[in-house]
Amino acid sequence: MNAEPRLDPVAIAALAALNICGHPDLVTIVAAAFLKALPGYLVVLRQNVLAPDLKTLSRICHDLKSSSASVGAVVLAALCIEVEALVRSGATHAMASKLRRIVDEIEAVCPELEALLLSRRDGGHTVTAIAGAPEYEEAK
């Protein structure tokens, strides 16, 4: 099967362009942090498929929208924008199917993030210095 890639390589390159010599690889720490956060989002989203809580959905889709765009998960980001719009309009009848699509998309993004982390490690992009980076510790 030749599935469409879920992560935009241009966004990954944009993150890599922010690397500083001697600092942790930004692609690695951002991808790791995102991967770590996704199971939590999945739990909440699955709960909301059956009984949508608009306040919760508004908050998590708002967060997920921009963080997924930052790592290049553009389809996921677009779906979150759609759910935010549904929340604003109160159109809950279409919510369940949209949330299921977000769940599917997250499940498709996860293996790509894992592969990305592996390739960064194999490509020599491993952390060269922690340099007192608490955010890195948080992301691990």
Partner: protein, 425 residues
């Protein structure tokens, strides 16, 4: 005086308040790239602790902090140390972000600006660097951070400075019609240096003419070559306000165009409104002379400066670029959309070509096309890329033009999406 060498104490310290870890990481790195110190807080309580312990030069605040909001933090700032400048970042609409800035101003706080998420690192760095109070306090740390003017001077004589190109498409046909030339500096010592920083460094150290002509020369040479593929292709270059007073600007441009046999109408000089305001008479003279030569003159970042309409009437603009701050939010902000629509209509009435910056989605691309916006530029259409990658895109575009059956005329696919492997593989 060069503010950056007249330094006292310590590197600037920035507090980032954002409940989302991905953004804390990215924002921190943007700050560190300037050689500044970044602290991060995930909630108001954590931010309050940091504010009581340290003096900050700038605060980057997410407006929506889970169930809390960034406005609440402004109350805490009134009794805090120092006089930090405030930057709001948010995925919320432009009006909400602008309103938040007004709240901060009303509280007597120093406001630097507002940015939409996902953050454009260049915009954030430009905003941080634009704060004059900070400039005096920056100490370049060893090993990375801010390069010096000397390093820039050397880079200009070597091959560290290069040009990237961001495509512009005719929104009606989806075809590439031009590109904006953008200076880049990859320094062996500092990595990729923020354009906001090195352009400012060039402006403050009499290097802006060298930098500008370096980009113009690259742009003219490549444009000449690319017009063999797409005969109507044009290239846009940014003209610094400092260049308006440079007597070599007009003669230098003349000489470059004739040496490389490029017709003047293939060159677009982009200049921001704010750049013109400082010396309107001089700007009018220089831009008029450029226009007489046949060079197209474009008003950049329209909508973000002052006296826009007056400037529009006085200057010989052939093109108007609507700033990305309107365009990128107009799908979620009905007021911004009204401004964009009115600007497109106004440009049409005045006989100017209108370019929308910040075209980041197919929906936006199509909506702009449908209201008659002529040209689009943005990440959906194509990110800045090296000349070789752009040449490959143009080769494909030329093939499409010669064999129109390959693509429908209204095919507005982003150039990235057309050939991702060839561009980035």
């Amino acid at each position: 005086m060069n503010a950056m060498v007249d330094v006292p104490a310590r590197p600037s310290r920035v507090l980032i308040v954002d409940d989302e870890v991905i953004h804390r990481l990215i924002l921190s790195r943007c700050v560190e790239l300037l050689g500044w110190q970044a602290d991060a807080a995930a909630c108001l309580e954590e931010a309050a602790g940091k504010l009581s312990a340290y003096t900050y030069d700038a605060l980057i605040i997410d407006l929506r902090l889970g169930d809390q909001d960034g406005i609440h933090l402004l109350k805490m700032l009134q009794g805090s140390r120092g006089d930090p400048s405030i930057i709001f970042v948010s995925g919320m609409d432009n009006r909400t972000r602008s309103a938040a800035l007004r709240v901060a101003r009303d509280r007597g706080l120093r406001v630097a600006g507002t940015l939409s998420k996902p953050i454009n690192p260049d915009s954030l760095q430009a905003m941080l660097l634009s704060d004059p109070a900070r400039m005096k306090a920056d100490v370049p740390p060893p090993g990375y951070g801010r390069p010096t003017a000397e390093e820039l001077r050397e880079a200009l004589y070597g091959n560290e400075i290069y040009t990237e190109y961001q495509a512009k498409t005719d929104l009606a046909t989806g075809m590439i019609v031009g590109a904006e030339a953008l200076a880049r500096w990859r320094s062996p010592a500092h990595g990729l240096v923020s354009p906001a920083h090195f352009v400012m460094l060039a402006e403050q150290n009499d290097l802006i003419d060298k930098l500008t002509f370096r980009v113009i020369q690259d742009a003219v040479i490549t444009c000449r070559r690319w017009r063999d593929l797409l005969p109507n292709f044009s290239v846009a270059v940014n003209i610094s306000p400092y260049m308006l007073a440079d007597p070599t600007l007009l003669t230098g441009l003349d000489s470059l165009l004739s040496r490389h046999d490029l017709p003047p109408e293939a060159l677009v000089a982009e200049i921001t409104e704010s750049a013109m305001i400082s010396n309107l008479a001089l700007a009018t003279e220089v831009l008029t002379r450029l226009s007489i030569k046949g060079v197209r003159v474009s008003m950049d970042d329209f909508g973000t400066g002052y006296s826009s309409l007056l400037t529009l009437l006085r200057m010989p603009f052939t093109e108007l670029k609507i700033d990305r701050s309107f365009v990128s939010v107009c799908q979620t902000d009905p007021e911004a959309w009204k401004i964009v629509r009115a600007t497109v209509s106004l440009s049409s009435e005045l006989g100017m070509r209108v370019v929308a910056e910040g075209v980041e989605t197919v929906d936006l691309n199509n909506r702009l096309r449908d209201i008659g916006c002529d040209v689009g530029q943005g990440w959906f259409i194509g990110r800045p890329m090296p000349a070789a990658a752009m040449q490959r895109c143009l080769g494909l575009e030329a093939a499409r033009t010669e064999a129109p059956g390959l693509a429908a005329p209204d095919d507005a696919m982003p150039i990235m999406a057309r050939q991702p492997v060839k561009l980035f593989g």
